[in-house]
Symmetry: C2
DNA sequence: GTCTATAGTCCGATAGAC
DNA sequence: GTCTATCGGACTATAGAC
Protein backbone atom coordinates (compact mmCIF):
# COMPACT_ATOMS: atom_id res chain seq x y z
CA UNK A 1 0.00 0.00 0.00
CA UNK A 2 1.40 3.41 -0.84
CA UNK A 3 2.15 6.08 1.71
CA UNK A 4 -0.57 8.57 0.81
CA UNK A 5 -3.24 5.91 0.88
CA UNK A 6 -2.14 4.73 4.33
CA UNK A 7 -2.22 8.29 5.57
CA UNK A 8 -5.59 8.94 4.01
CA UNK A 9 -7.12 5.78 5.45
CA UNK A 10 -5.96 6.71 8.93
CA UNK A 11 -7.29 10.25 8.66
CA UNK A 12 -10.65 8.99 7.49
CA UNK A 13 -10.94 6.48 10.28
CA UNK A 14 -9.77 9.10 12.77
CA UNK A 15 -12.68 11.31 11.77
CA UNK A 16 -15.14 8.54 12.47
CA UNK A 17 -13.65 7.48 15.78
CA UNK A 18 -12.99 11.00 17.00
CA UNK A 19 -16.55 12.04 16.25
CA UNK A 20 -17.87 9.11 18.25
CA UNK A 21 -15.48 9.03 21.20
CA UNK A 22 -13.40 12.19 21.36
CA UNK A 23 -9.64 12.29 21.79
CA UNK A 24 -9.30 10.36 25.04
CA UNK A 25 -11.97 7.86 24.09
CA UNK A 26 -10.50 6.81 20.75
CA UNK A 27 -7.74 4.23 20.56
CA UNK A 28 -5.03 3.90 17.94
CA UNK A 29 -5.37 0.13 18.02
CA UNK A 30 -9.01 0.31 16.97
CA UNK A 31 -8.20 3.01 14.46
CA UNK A 32 -5.40 1.16 12.72
CA UNK A 33 -7.13 -2.18 12.77
CA UNK A 34 -10.36 -0.73 11.34
CA UNK A 35 -8.41 1.24 8.76
CA UNK A 36 -6.50 -1.87 7.75
CA UNK A 37 -3.09 -0.40 8.43
CA UNK A 38 -0.36 -1.23 10.90
CA UNK A 39 -0.36 0.17 14.41
CA UNK A 40 3.17 1.47 14.06
CA UNK A 41 2.28 3.57 11.03
CA UNK A 42 0.60 6.17 13.24
CA UNK A 43 3.94 7.16 14.65
CA UNK A 44 5.73 6.79 11.35
CA UNK A 45 3.34 9.11 9.52
CA UNK A 46 2.24 11.52 12.23
CA UNK A 47 4.63 11.17 15.15
CA UNK A 48 1.93 10.87 17.81
CA UNK A 49 -1.76 10.47 18.44
CA UNK A 50 -2.12 14.17 19.04
CA UNK A 51 -0.49 15.10 15.75
CA UNK A 52 -2.67 12.61 13.91
CA UNK A 53 -5.77 14.30 15.28
CA UNK A 54 -4.35 17.75 14.61
CA UNK A 55 -3.67 16.71 11.00
CA UNK A 56 -7.21 15.38 10.74
CA UNK A 57 -8.58 18.78 11.72
CA UNK A 58 -6.16 20.68 9.54
CA UNK A 59 -6.98 18.71 6.40
CA UNK A 60 -10.71 19.06 6.82
CA UNK A 61 -11.01 22.49 8.40
CA UNK A 62 -8.65 24.46 6.21
CA UNK A 63 -10.52 23.95 2.91
CA UNK A 64 -13.78 24.61 4.71
CA UNK A 65 -12.48 27.86 6.16
CA UNK A 66 -11.25 28.98 2.76
CA UNK A 67 -14.72 28.42 1.40
CA UNK A 68 -16.14 30.39 4.30
CA UNK A 69 -13.88 33.34 3.49
CA UNK A 70 -14.78 33.18 -0.21
CA UNK A 71 -18.46 33.25 0.66
CA UNK A 72 -17.91 36.11 3.05
CA UNK A 73 -16.16 38.10 0.34
CA UNK A 74 -19.00 37.46 -2.07
CA UNK A 75 -21.48 38.59 0.58
CA UNK A 76 -19.44 41.74 1.03
CA UNK A 77 -19.46 42.43 -2.69
CA UNK A 78 -23.19 41.84 -2.87
CA UNK A 79 -23.67 44.45 -0.17
CA UNK A 80 -21.28 47.02 -1.67
CA UNK A 81 -18.58 46.36 0.87
CA UNK A 82 -20.72 45.52 3.89
CA UNK A 83 -22.11 42.01 4.13
CA UNK A 84 -25.60 41.39 5.49
CA UNK A 85 -26.00 39.41 8.70
CA UNK A 86 -27.66 36.63 6.73
CA UNK A 87 -24.76 36.63 4.28
CA UNK A 88 -22.24 36.40 7.11
CA UNK A 89 -23.90 33.47 8.83
CA UNK A 90 -24.55 31.67 5.57
CA UNK A 91 -20.83 32.02 4.89
CA UNK A 92 -20.11 30.50 8.27
CA UNK A 93 -22.71 27.74 8.18
CA UNK A 94 -23.25 26.56 4.60
CA UNK A 95 -19.72 25.15 4.22
CA UNK A 96 -20.41 23.05 7.33
CA UNK A 97 -23.82 21.94 6.08
CA UNK A 98 -22.33 20.88 2.75
CA UNK A 99 -19.98 18.54 4.55
CA UNK A 100 -22.79 16.84 6.42
CA UNK A 101 -23.54 14.82 3.32
CA UNK A 102 -21.35 12.21 1.72
CA UNK A 103 -22.52 11.06 -1.70
CA UNK A 104 -25.91 12.55 -0.97
CA UNK A 105 -26.33 10.56 2.23
CA UNK A 106 -26.50 12.30 5.58
CA UNK A 107 -23.28 11.67 7.46
CA UNK A 108 -22.95 13.06 10.93
CA UNK A 109 -19.26 12.34 11.44
CA UNK A 110 -17.98 15.66 10.23
CA UNK A 111 -20.52 17.64 12.22
CA UNK A 112 -19.78 15.78 15.41
CA UNK A 113 -16.05 16.01 14.82
CA UNK A 114 -16.21 19.79 14.61
CA UNK A 115 -18.62 20.12 17.50
CA UNK A 116 -16.67 17.84 19.76
CA UNK A 117 -13.59 20.01 19.59
CA UNK A 118 -15.33 22.36 21.99
CA UNK A 119 -14.81 19.96 24.89
CA UNK A 120 -11.19 19.05 24.46
CA UNK A 121 -8.66 19.98 27.10
CA UNK A 122 -7.75 23.64 27.29
CA UNK A 123 -4.28 23.02 25.88
CA UNK A 124 -5.50 21.01 22.93
CA UNK A 125 -8.26 23.45 22.11
CA UNK A 126 -5.95 26.42 22.38
CA UNK A 127 -3.51 24.93 19.90
CA UNK A 128 -6.36 23.94 17.57
CA UNK A 129 -7.81 27.44 17.78
CA UNK A 130 -4.51 29.15 17.01
CA UNK A 131 -3.77 26.83 14.11
CA UNK A 132 -7.19 26.80 12.49
CA UNK A 133 -9.63 29.37 13.77
CA UNK A 134 -7.96 32.48 15.13
CA UNK A 135 -7.67 34.30 11.84
CA UNK A 136 -11.11 33.23 10.68
CA UNK A 137 -12.70 34.43 13.92
CA UNK A 138 -11.07 37.81 13.58
CA UNK A 139 -12.32 38.22 10.04
CA UNK A 140 -15.88 37.25 10.92
CA UNK A 141 -15.95 39.51 13.96
CA UNK A 142 -14.81 42.37 11.73
CA UNK A 143 -17.56 41.62 9.25
CA UNK A 144 -20.16 41.51 12.00
CA UNK A 145 -18.93 44.79 13.46
CA UNK A 146 -19.26 46.40 10.02
CA UNK A 147 -22.73 44.96 9.53
CA UNK A 148 -23.85 46.31 12.91
CA UNK A 149 -22.00 49.60 13.33
CA UNK A 150 -24.15 50.67 16.26
CA UNK A 151 -23.50 47.54 18.30
CA UNK A 152 -20.63 48.10 20.77
CA UNK A 153 -17.59 46.07 19.86
CA UNK A 154 -17.72 44.25 23.16
CA UNK A 155 -21.21 43.01 22.40
CA UNK A 156 -20.19 41.92 18.92
CA UNK A 157 -17.50 39.74 20.43
CA UNK A 158 -19.75 38.26 23.11
CA UNK A 159 -22.48 37.51 20.65
CA UNK A 160 -20.05 35.89 18.26
CA UNK A 161 -18.94 33.70 21.14
CA UNK A 162 -22.55 32.75 21.85
CA UNK A 163 -23.21 32.10 18.17
CA UNK A 164 -20.19 29.86 17.73
CA UNK A 165 -21.08 27.99 20.93
CA UNK A 166 -24.58 27.49 19.66
CA UNK A 167 -23.32 26.21 16.34
CA UNK A 168 -20.84 23.77 17.88
CA UNK A 169 -23.30 22.55 20.47
CA UNK A 170 -25.93 22.06 17.81
CA UNK A 171 -23.51 20.11 15.65
CA UNK A 172 -22.43 17.73 18.35
CA UNK A 173 -25.95 17.01 19.49
CA UNK A 174 -27.70 17.16 16.14
CA UNK A 175 -27.86 13.42 15.55
CA UNK A 176 -29.65 12.67 18.79
CA UNK A 177 -31.87 15.71 18.64
CA UNK A 178 -32.89 14.94 15.07
CA UNK A 179 -33.79 11.41 16.09
CA UNK A 180 -36.05 12.71 18.85
CA UNK A 181 -37.64 15.27 16.56
CA UNK A 182 -38.21 12.61 13.93
CA UNK A 183 -40.05 10.53 16.49
CA UNK A 184 -42.41 13.49 16.89
CA UNK A 185 -42.96 13.72 13.16
CA UNK A 186 -40.84 16.85 12.76
CA UNK A 187 -38.79 17.68 9.71
CA UNK A 188 -35.12 17.09 10.35
CA UNK A 189 -33.34 17.71 7.06
CA UNK A 190 -30.00 19.36 7.44
CA UNK A 191 -30.77 22.34 5.23
CA UNK A 192 -33.79 23.43 7.21
CA UNK A 193 -31.88 22.94 10.44
CA UNK A 194 -29.10 25.25 9.30
CA UNK A 195 -31.58 27.78 7.98
CA UNK A 196 -33.33 27.84 11.33
CA UNK A 197 -30.04 28.19 13.13
CA UNK A 198 -29.00 31.03 10.85
CA UNK A 199 -32.24 32.90 11.48
CA UNK A 200 -31.95 32.36 15.22
CA UNK A 201 -28.42 33.75 15.27
CA UNK A 202 -29.27 36.72 13.05
CA UNK A 203 -32.19 37.63 15.29
CA UNK A 204 -29.96 37.30 18.35
CA UNK A 205 -27.44 39.70 16.84
CA UNK A 206 -30.13 42.19 15.88
CA UNK A 207 -31.42 42.42 19.46
CA UNK A 208 -31.09 45.73 21.26
CA UNK A 209 -28.39 46.27 23.82
CA UNK A 210 -30.21 46.91 27.06
CA UNK A 211 -29.26 49.86 29.18
CA UNK A 212 -27.26 49.19 32.31
CA UNK A 213 -29.42 47.64 34.98
CA UNK B 1 -13.40 8.83 58.32
CA UNK B 2 -17.14 8.45 58.13
CA UNK B 3 -18.99 7.18 55.10
CA UNK B 4 -20.76 10.39 54.11
CA UNK B 5 -17.56 12.37 54.26
CA UNK B 6 -15.75 9.88 52.04
CA UNK B 7 -18.61 10.00 49.58
CA UNK B 8 -18.67 13.78 49.65
CA UNK B 9 -14.94 14.10 49.14
CA UNK B 10 -15.08 11.86 46.10
CA UNK B 11 -17.99 13.74 44.58
CA UNK B 12 -16.24 17.04 45.07
CA UNK B 13 -13.03 15.82 43.52
CA UNK B 14 -15.00 14.22 40.68
CA UNK B 15 -16.47 17.60 39.83
CA UNK B 16 -13.05 19.14 39.54
CA UNK B 17 -11.52 16.34 37.50
CA UNK B 18 -14.55 15.83 35.29
CA UNK B 19 -14.70 19.53 34.48
CA UNK B 20 -11.07 19.49 33.45
CA UNK B 21 -10.79 16.17 31.63
CA UNK B 22 -14.22 14.71 30.91
CA UNK B 23 -15.25 11.14 31.63
CA UNK B 24 -12.62 9.28 29.62
CA UNK B 25 -9.88 11.68 30.59
CA UNK B 26 -10.32 11.46 34.36
CA UNK B 27 -8.81 8.61 36.34
CA UNK B 28 -10.08 7.10 39.55
CA UNK B 29 -6.55 6.74 40.84
CA UNK B 30 -5.96 10.49 40.59
CA UNK B 31 -9.40 11.15 41.99
CA UNK B 32 -9.05 8.99 45.07
CA UNK B 33 -5.49 10.02 45.78
CA UNK B 34 -6.32 13.75 45.49
CA UNK B 35 -9.44 13.26 47.59
CA UNK B 36 -7.47 11.43 50.23
CA UNK B 37 -9.57 8.29 50.11
CA UNK B 38 -8.86 4.74 49.12
CA UNK B 39 -9.07 3.60 45.52
CA UNK B 40 -11.37 0.73 46.39
CA UNK B 41 -13.94 3.04 47.94
CA UNK B 42 -15.15 4.13 44.52
CA UNK B 43 -16.58 0.71 43.92
CA UNK B 44 -17.73 0.31 47.47
CA UNK B 45 -19.72 3.56 47.48
CA UNK B 46 -20.80 3.89 43.86
CA UNK B 47 -20.30 0.53 42.17
CA UNK B 48 -18.46 1.92 39.14
CA UNK B 49 -16.85 4.97 37.63
CA UNK B 50 -19.94 5.66 35.58
CA UNK B 51 -22.22 5.59 38.59
CA UNK B 52 -19.88 7.88 40.49
CA UNK B 53 -20.13 10.46 37.71
CA UNK B 54 -23.88 9.98 37.42
CA UNK B 55 -24.21 10.58 41.17
CA UNK B 56 -22.06 13.68 40.84
CA UNK B 57 -24.47 15.11 38.27
CA UNK B 58 -27.54 14.06 40.17
CA UNK B 59 -26.45 15.69 43.43
CA UNK B 60 -25.58 18.98 41.79
CA UNK B 61 -28.13 19.19 39.01
CA UNK B 62 -31.28 18.20 40.89
CA UNK B 63 -31.26 21.08 43.40
CA UNK B 64 -30.39 23.47 40.58
CA UNK B 65 -33.28 22.25 38.47
CA UNK B 66 -35.67 22.62 41.37
CA UNK B 67 -34.58 26.21 41.72
CA UNK B 68 -35.11 26.70 38.01
CA UNK B 69 -38.67 25.43 38.27
CA UNK B 70 -39.38 27.64 41.28
CA UNK B 71 -38.13 30.67 39.39
CA UNK B 72 -40.18 29.70 36.37
CA UNK B 73 -43.30 29.47 38.48
CA UNK B 74 -42.63 32.87 39.98
CA UNK B 75 -42.15 34.30 36.49
CA UNK B 76 -45.48 32.76 35.49
CA UNK B 77 -47.20 34.29 38.48
CA UNK B 78 -45.65 37.68 37.73
CA UNK B 79 -47.10 37.52 34.22
CA UNK B 80 -50.57 36.32 35.27
CA UNK B 81 -49.98 32.79 34.12
CA UNK B 82 -47.68 33.42 31.17
CA UNK B 83 -44.02 34.04 31.89
CA UNK B 84 -42.06 36.58 29.88
CA UNK B 85 -39.17 35.41 27.71
CA UNK B 86 -36.76 37.23 29.99
CA UNK B 87 -38.31 35.54 33.01
CA UNK B 88 -37.98 32.12 31.39
CA UNK B 89 -34.32 32.50 30.51
CA UNK B 90 -33.49 34.05 33.85
CA UNK B 91 -35.07 30.99 35.45
CA UNK B 92 -32.87 28.79 33.29
CA UNK B 93 -29.64 30.76 33.64
CA UNK B 94 -29.51 32.44 37.05
CA UNK B 95 -29.33 29.15 39.00
CA UNK B 96 -26.31 28.25 36.87
CA UNK B 97 -24.69 31.65 37.36
CA UNK B 98 -25.14 31.41 41.13
CA UNK B 99 -23.16 28.19 41.15
CA UNK B 100 -20.24 29.78 39.33
CA UNK B 101 -19.12 31.31 42.58
CA UNK B 102 -17.87 29.49 45.63
CA UNK B 103 -17.54 31.68 48.72
CA UNK B 104 -17.66 34.74 46.51
CA UNK B 105 -14.78 33.58 44.35
CA UNK B 106 -15.30 32.73 40.68
CA UNK B 107 -15.10 28.98 40.26
CA UNK B 108 -15.40 27.55 36.79
CA UNK B 109 -15.66 23.89 37.74
CA UNK B 110 -19.40 23.72 37.92
CA UNK B 111 -19.87 25.59 34.65
CA UNK B 112 -17.44 23.38 32.80
CA UNK B 113 -18.89 20.26 34.36
CA UNK B 114 -22.34 21.08 33.04
CA UNK B 115 -21.07 22.23 29.66
CA UNK B 116 -18.88 19.21 29.15
CA UNK B 117 -21.80 16.82 29.41
CA UNK B 118 -22.69 17.87 25.88
CA UNK B 119 -19.80 15.90 24.42
CA UNK B 120 -20.16 12.63 26.24
CA UNK B 121 -20.94 9.46 24.34
CA UNK B 122 -24.48 9.15 23.06
CA UNK B 123 -25.32 6.43 25.58
CA UNK B 124 -24.03 8.34 28.56
CA UNK B 125 -25.70 11.56 27.49
CA UNK B 126 -28.98 9.81 26.83
CA UNK B 127 -29.07 8.34 30.30
CA UNK B 128 -28.05 11.65 31.85
CA UNK B 129 -30.76 13.46 29.91
CA UNK B 130 -33.48 11.02 30.90
CA UNK B 131 -32.45 11.10 34.54
CA UNK B 132 -31.91 14.83 34.94
CA UNK B 133 -33.18 16.96 32.10
CA UNK B 134 -36.09 15.41 30.24
CA UNK B 135 -38.81 16.72 32.49
CA UNK B 136 -37.21 20.13 32.88
CA UNK B 137 -36.87 20.51 29.10
CA UNK B 138 -40.50 19.69 28.58
CA UNK B 139 -41.59 22.26 31.15
CA UNK B 140 -39.43 24.99 29.67
CA UNK B 141 -40.54 24.26 26.12
CA UNK B 142 -44.13 24.54 27.32
CA UNK B 143 -43.42 27.88 28.94
CA UNK B 144 -41.75 29.16 25.78
CA UNK B 145 -44.64 28.00 23.64
CA UNK B 146 -47.04 29.87 25.91
CA UNK B 147 -44.90 33.00 25.84
CA UNK B 148 -44.78 32.93 22.04
CA UNK B 149 -48.19 31.60 20.97
CA UNK B 150 -47.65 32.59 17.34
CA UNK B 151 -44.39 30.71 16.96
CA UNK B 152 -44.98 27.24 15.47
CA UNK B 153 -44.28 24.50 17.98
CA UNK B 154 -41.58 23.05 15.76
CA UNK B 155 -39.68 26.33 15.82
CA UNK B 156 -40.04 26.58 19.59
CA UNK B 157 -38.35 23.20 19.91
CA UNK B 158 -35.57 23.97 17.47
CA UNK B 159 -34.83 27.30 19.07
CA UNK B 160 -34.79 25.75 22.52
CA UNK B 161 -32.26 23.27 21.19
CA UNK B 162 -30.13 26.13 19.83
CA UNK B 163 -30.45 28.05 23.09
CA UNK B 164 -29.41 25.12 25.25
CA UNK B 165 -26.50 24.40 22.91
CA UNK B 166 -25.43 28.00 23.15
CA UNK B 167 -25.61 27.92 26.92
CA UNK B 168 -23.65 24.69 27.26
CA UNK B 169 -21.05 25.72 24.73
CA UNK B 170 -20.66 29.06 26.44
CA UNK B 171 -20.22 27.38 29.82
CA UNK B 172 -17.55 24.97 28.70
CA UNK B 173 -15.53 27.63 26.93
CA UNK B 174 -16.20 30.52 29.27
CA UNK B 175 -12.94 30.31 31.17
CA UNK B 176 -10.76 30.57 28.11
CA UNK B 177 -12.94 33.13 26.39
CA UNK B 178 -13.03 35.31 29.48
CA UNK B 179 -9.27 35.18 29.68
CA UNK B 180 -8.97 36.38 26.10
CA UNK B 181 -11.53 39.11 26.64
CA UNK B 182 -9.76 40.21 29.78
CA UNK B 183 -6.57 40.59 27.79
CA UNK B 184 -8.48 43.04 25.59
CA UNK B 185 -9.64 45.02 28.59
CA UNK B 186 -13.22 43.75 28.36
CA UNK B 187 -15.47 43.18 31.31
CA UNK B 188 -15.79 39.50 32.11
CA UNK B 189 -17.83 39.24 35.27
CA UNK B 190 -20.18 36.32 35.31
CA UNK B 191 -23.34 38.35 35.86
CA UNK B 192 -22.86 40.51 32.79
CA UNK B 193 -21.98 37.45 30.75
CA UNK B 194 -25.22 35.72 31.69
CA UNK B 195 -27.21 38.90 31.12
CA UNK B 196 -25.75 39.22 27.65
CA UNK B 197 -26.47 35.59 26.92
CA UNK B 198 -30.04 35.96 28.14
CA UNK B 199 -30.62 38.97 25.90
CA UNK B 200 -29.09 37.17 22.93
CA UNK B 201 -31.35 34.17 23.42
CA UNK B 202 -34.48 36.27 23.96
CA UNK B 203 -33.79 38.20 20.77
CA UNK B 204 -33.21 34.94 18.90
CA UNK B 205 -36.56 33.61 20.06
CA UNK B 206 -38.34 36.82 19.12
CA UNK B 207 -37.12 36.67 15.52
CA UNK B 208 -39.67 36.19 12.78
CA UNK B 209 -40.14 32.82 11.15
CA UNK B 210 -39.24 33.36 7.53
CA UNK B 211 -41.55 32.10 4.82
CA UNK B 212 -40.47 28.98 2.94
CA UNK B 213 -37.65 29.70 0.59
C1' DG C 1 7.28 2.07 4.49
C1' DT C 2 5.56 -1.80 6.65
C1' DC C 3 5.79 -5.27 9.82
C1' DT C 4 6.24 -7.94 14.60
C1' DA C 5 7.12 -7.76 19.12
C1' DT C 6 7.41 -5.59 23.22
C1' DA C 7 8.64 -2.01 26.56
C1' DG C 8 6.59 0.72 29.90
C1' DT C 9 2.66 2.71 31.83
C1' DC C 10 -1.86 3.29 33.25
C1' DC C 11 -6.45 1.78 33.78
C1' DG C 12 -11.06 0.00 36.31
C1' DA C 13 -12.41 -3.48 39.15
C1' DT C 14 -12.18 -6.83 42.92
C1' DA C 15 -10.72 -10.37 46.48
C1' DG C 16 -9.82 -10.78 51.02
C1' DA C 17 -7.58 -9.29 55.49
C1' DC C 18 -8.63 -6.19 59.11
C1' DG D 1 -15.97 0.82 55.75
C1' DT D 2 -11.21 0.88 54.76
C1' DC D 3 -7.11 -1.11 53.48
C1' DT D 4 -3.38 -3.72 50.45
C1' DA D 5 -2.43 -6.25 46.72
C1' DT D 6 -3.35 -7.73 42.46
C1' DC D 7 -5.87 -9.34 38.27
C1' DG D 8 -6.51 -8.73 33.62
C1' DG D 9 -6.47 -5.77 30.21
C1' DA D 10 -6.01 -1.55 27.73
C1' DC D 11 -3.10 2.07 26.04
C1' DT D 12 0.83 4.91 23.32
C1' DA D 13 5.15 4.64 21.67
C1' DT D 14 9.26 2.49 19.84
C1' DA D 15 13.08 -0.71 18.55
C1' DG D 16 14.57 -3.39 15.01
C1' DA D 17 13.94 -6.93 11.20
C1' DC D 18 12.54 -6.94 6.50
Amino acid sequence: MNATETRQRMLQEAEKLYSEHGFDGMSLRTLTSDAGVNLASVNYHFGSKKELVMAMFQERIMPMNEERLERLNKAREAGNGVASLEGIFDALLIPVAERAQVNGVLDMHFLKMVGRAISESDDFWHELFIRNFQELSKTFVEALAEALPDLPREDVEWRFHFAVSSMLGTLVKHGQFARRMQGLGRSTDIESMFRRLRDFLCAGFRGQVEAMR
